[in-house]
């Protein structure tokens, strides 16, 4: 029977056998369906966690812990499976006791190599879309009824005052807004507090030349994709306007001009006490769940160099840099060679400043055009859209590749990049710029996930460096600051009217320590990175980003963030975890790691 040999038939047979073994509670038989070198990434469905199991023993242990509660079933291949380079790939759907899910499967020699299981919706708590959408009006007549605006206005006036939100999100950038939109659809009363006045201001307030470095296909917000003429690279103010409109039409409870002053958790009451200053008025909120969506970073990192206090010029961090108008004709030293260092140096040059970039450490640089063609094209591009790869599918395909396997795809990609752009790298190196592709050659995406720093997607600054238009001081440390100069540890000195710290940001744990307590920050531990053991991302190996989008060692405390794609995708899982807790659905968490020292 030829159909037996089609990829779809083979995937279907695997899934049926796997499902039968799970239904029979036969964990050994289920594990037998995996290769020795296997990876099962689960986003909530089994583990109520964001978790990658590596190898059969891990899989068996996870199933022993979760199978009785999860009660999975209804496994069904979705669409047609394909065969690529010896691996059969298939989409599937399934259910657990609590939820519906979608997954992705890669088979080698009839056995599972990678498995992705993700939760898509909670049974009985589905979003009201399509034919289940609300009506918007109750037909018929009703004395004293209020219209939409009156109900909305009353609801906004009550929430946070006479009625407490179930969830409070600190930070109203794309992360907080995406999560807020999902919680809104799930009927979770939520307030977002944001220091800036309006949604989008966190982008508007950045330096004037900022444009999203990732392309439009990667950047959609949930539910409301950009229209089909949206530019490939969104200018910051245009993106700010989009976020502002998005927050409005999604009907988010967005408290602008609101600073969070402090938070503490009462475990007995299972409730947070959070003090906020809203436009000058202090208010105490008592949410059940607290989410930090302040970005993957902490506070701007201002490094205190010896002698800095006597400097007579201007010193600022890139987070405070708006534009180069004021710096025309000035001698500017930009300390740092990451994304903001490059962008700010180029903006200063465009405004006629004399710019020197101080490169303290080797940097991953990839040309935007090349990254678009080689890095994004498969999943997030117009050709991908044409091939039927929806944003949701792209997100799941990206999620289906475990961190352990990332170097195996990223190293060849960056070898190809190095080859294709050899002339570019040669010019950059000749100018004295130190570039690399990461300790293990896994390149830009790996760097972003490991340390969220030390890389630049070149949109023009590298050319200025290669041409000497932006001067470079590389391979030296800073010895101290003079009255109007910067001194280096090789004995040289450069004059400086302006010193710009492109020194990045601290870690989110600083915010936790300041807003909650150092004890809670210690209990929760490090953020970001997955224990790759590379510089800036020490082990032990975790295989998932630390503390992101999943339960932490502090009850009812969550961390949400990342770039636009990660914020979009993982906001789904954060929202489902919070909704499940609100509905008292059991959420036994498997595999909560001990906190990594911060």
């Amino acid at each position: 029977m030829t159909s037996k040999q089609s990829p779809t038939a083979r995937a279907g047979a695997w899934l049926a056998a796997f499902g039968d073994a799970l239904e029979a509670g036969d964990i050994a038989a289920a594990v037998d369906r995996f290769q020795d070198d296997c990876y099962w990434r689960d986003l909530l469905s089994f583990t109520w966690n964001v978790k990658t199991l590596e190898g059969k023993d891990d899989v068996a242990a996870m199933l022993r812990a979760t199978l009785a509660d999860a009660r999975p079933g209804a496994w069904a291949i979705e669409g047609e499976a394909t065969e690529n380079g010896g691996a059969v790939e298939a989409w599937f759907t399934f259910e657990t006791a609590a939820a519906r899910g979608r997954g992705h499967l890669r088979l080698k020699d009839g056995l599972c190599w990678t498995l992705l299981t993700t939760m898509t919706e909670l049974k009985g708590h589905e979003e009201r879309t399509g034919e289940n959408r609300i009506n918007g009006v109750r037909h018929g007549a009703e004395k004293g009824r209020r219209n939409w605006l009156e109900r909305k206005t009353a609801d906004e006036a009550e929430l946070g005052h006479s009625r407490q939100p179930y969830c409070l999100i600190i930070g109203g950038g794309q992360g907080g807004i995406a999560l807020g939109a999902r919680l809104r659809r799930l009927g979770v009363p939520t307030i977002i507090v944001e220091q800036n006045a309006r949604p989008g201001d966190s982008w508007r307030n950045r330096y004037r030349s900022l444009v999203l470095h990732d392309p439009v296909w990667y950047d959609h917000m949930p539910y409301l994709p950009f229209p089909d003429d949206w530019p490939v690279f969104t200018p910051k103010d245009k993106f700010g306007d989009w976020l502002e409109m998005y927050a409005k039409v999604m009907e988010l409870n967005y408290w602008g001009s609101t600073e969070c002053l402090g938070a503490s958790y009462d475990a007995a009451a299972a409730e947070w006490t959070v003090t906020v200053n809203r436009d000058g008025t202090e208010t105490t909120l008592r949410p059940r769940q607290l989410v930090f969506a302040t970005g993957a970073y902490g506070y701007p990192k201002d490094i205190k160099f010896p002698g800095a206090e006597a400097f007579t010029g201007a010193t600022l961090h890139t987070s405070a840099y708006v534009g180069g108008e004021a710096f025309a004709g000035k001698t500017c030293i930009v300390i740092g060679s990451g994304s903001s260092g490059h962008d700010v140096a180029a903006d200063l040059w465009e405004h006629g400043a004399d710019v020197t970039m101080v490169q303290r450490a080797s940097t991953v640089v990839v040309r935007s055009e090349t990254l678009m063609e080689l890095g994004f094209a498969d999943l997030y591009s117009e050709p991908a859209v044409q091939r039927g790869i929806t944003t949701e599918m792209a997100d799941l395909l990206f999620a289906s590749m475990p961190f352990r396997l990332m170097p195996s795809t990223q190293i060849p990609l960056h070898e190809e990049i190095a080859k294709r752009d050899a002339a570019f790298y040669e010019r950059l190196g000749a100018a004295g710029f130190r570039y690399d592709f990461g300790e293990d050659g896994a390149g830009l995406m790996a760097k972003a996930l490991r340390t969220a720093s030390g890389y630049y997607i070149d949109v023009g600054a590298s050319g200025l460096i290669a041409d000497g238009e932006i001067k470079l001081k590389s391979g030296v440390g800073i010895a101290g600051i003079g009255e109007r100069s910067v001194r280096f540890d090789d004995g040289t000195e450069l004059p400086a009217d302006v010193i710009i710290h492109a020194t990045g940001y601290g870690s989110m744990d600083e915010m936790v320590a300041r807003l909650i307590s150092p004890e809670v920050a210690d209990k929760v531990g490090r953020f970001w990175g997955y224990g790759s053991g590379t510089n800036g991302d020490p082990g032990p190996w975790e295989g998932e980003l630390r503390n992101m989008w999943k339960p932490t060692n502090q009850e009812a405390l969550w961390f949400h963030g990342g770039n636009l794609a990660l914020s979009r995708h993982y906001s789904l899982y954060v929202s489902l975890q919070i909704k499940a807790r609100m509905e008292n659905i059991p959420t036994p968490v498997h595999g909560l790691p001990p906190a990594a020292a911060r």
Copy 2:
């Protein structure tokens, strides 16, 4: 060969023969491919007009006038044809010398019964979408370059001052905004002027209980459909917020708080002089094209009844009615039984007023639920979406049915409605309400297209009338107004604290007469209606709505409007006509009718 007999093959054969005949310039052969009883509706492709040809002679005359310029070709069936009730239906694409097009075909016995040809884009002036979208940033470095916001701010400051818009749209409701968005994509410099301060205010300012009477699937704006949880019936303020956000993210040049004071055309200079008052400052604009998008209506119709000046209560038109709060306990007379009369009467009742509706003429009433199920389900509904009917396809299918054939589908539909809701109509009749389905039984949609008045989609008020909660005075005229009462021509009199004129609106020609001149208003003639010969829509037969979305007898003067669906769909054709003129593409218009006396 069986494929010869498939609907697709038959449609393909017809299209090939038709295309060959046109290519050969053999009009007789082309016309031979039509039934005697045939209809060809053309939206710009051949006629640069919105035009229905009826019968072979009309078709032949049109082809004789247009074929040499249009030079059509590249006819190709799109997707699979279907067969329904003896008619083969197919989609197709084609090109003309100037443009690309999409069409729809119905064959009976191998000959064409209905043909729709529509222009979709001008060659060389395509919208920049998908892989042709703009980049959003010029990579590389450039001294003195401005960012998106700086360019946008400068552009807004110049347009209408140091640089003239090519097109001026008067009226910033959904019609002006939809057209503005299309012109923006086509690169036509455009200003929209609107009396209200913000986009969406024309909805926000209406009576508090207003909710769109058409369902969400019918109401999408171009390019940016509502998200999939949008309510079936959008509350007015929510829709106002959507329009405001839409105008912002589409980057329209929207001049709020701006009144148009007057306009005149200089034929020699091919230019309008339009005076506007923008927030207290008078400005003169000199656009090449002027569009009225002030709605299908003119000014509110206030009828002067004898004795009205001595009335000691309150009198207002529904356009000024905001909500019933002030009228609790008052005796209110609502004069008129159209949509706003019903909505306002129900809102007054909900606020505890004593309400009597005065019905001056028989009214078409259809229950919303029934209309949704029988009227909208085929084209604009969740099941239609599931069947793959996109909004664009639904719009084209609706457009493919010529007005002449409308009664043949609408009469049976309304017979079914009458049967299904017999109990409803019996109760309504028993209360004294006079209802009908139009002179010829063609019902609600026909009434909307013929006179844009005299109908109500029941969302609750009819039940109140049937129950006597809203009292009814029907079949009488108004003899006069007393000091605190309304007198009827049957000699009866009713006390009144408040008289509300739900008397509708005048015609758009009043606006033309006031803002341009009575001469131009006379030259242009009547609006709306297609010459059905029914009450309020006198002949001669035109087969298309008068003066809407197409060239008028006044050069460079356009009228755009209609409900959300018509505004969405026909804004495409208005934008293409204006863009073609801006680019000096020849636009020979076929079949401009003489103005119908206004």
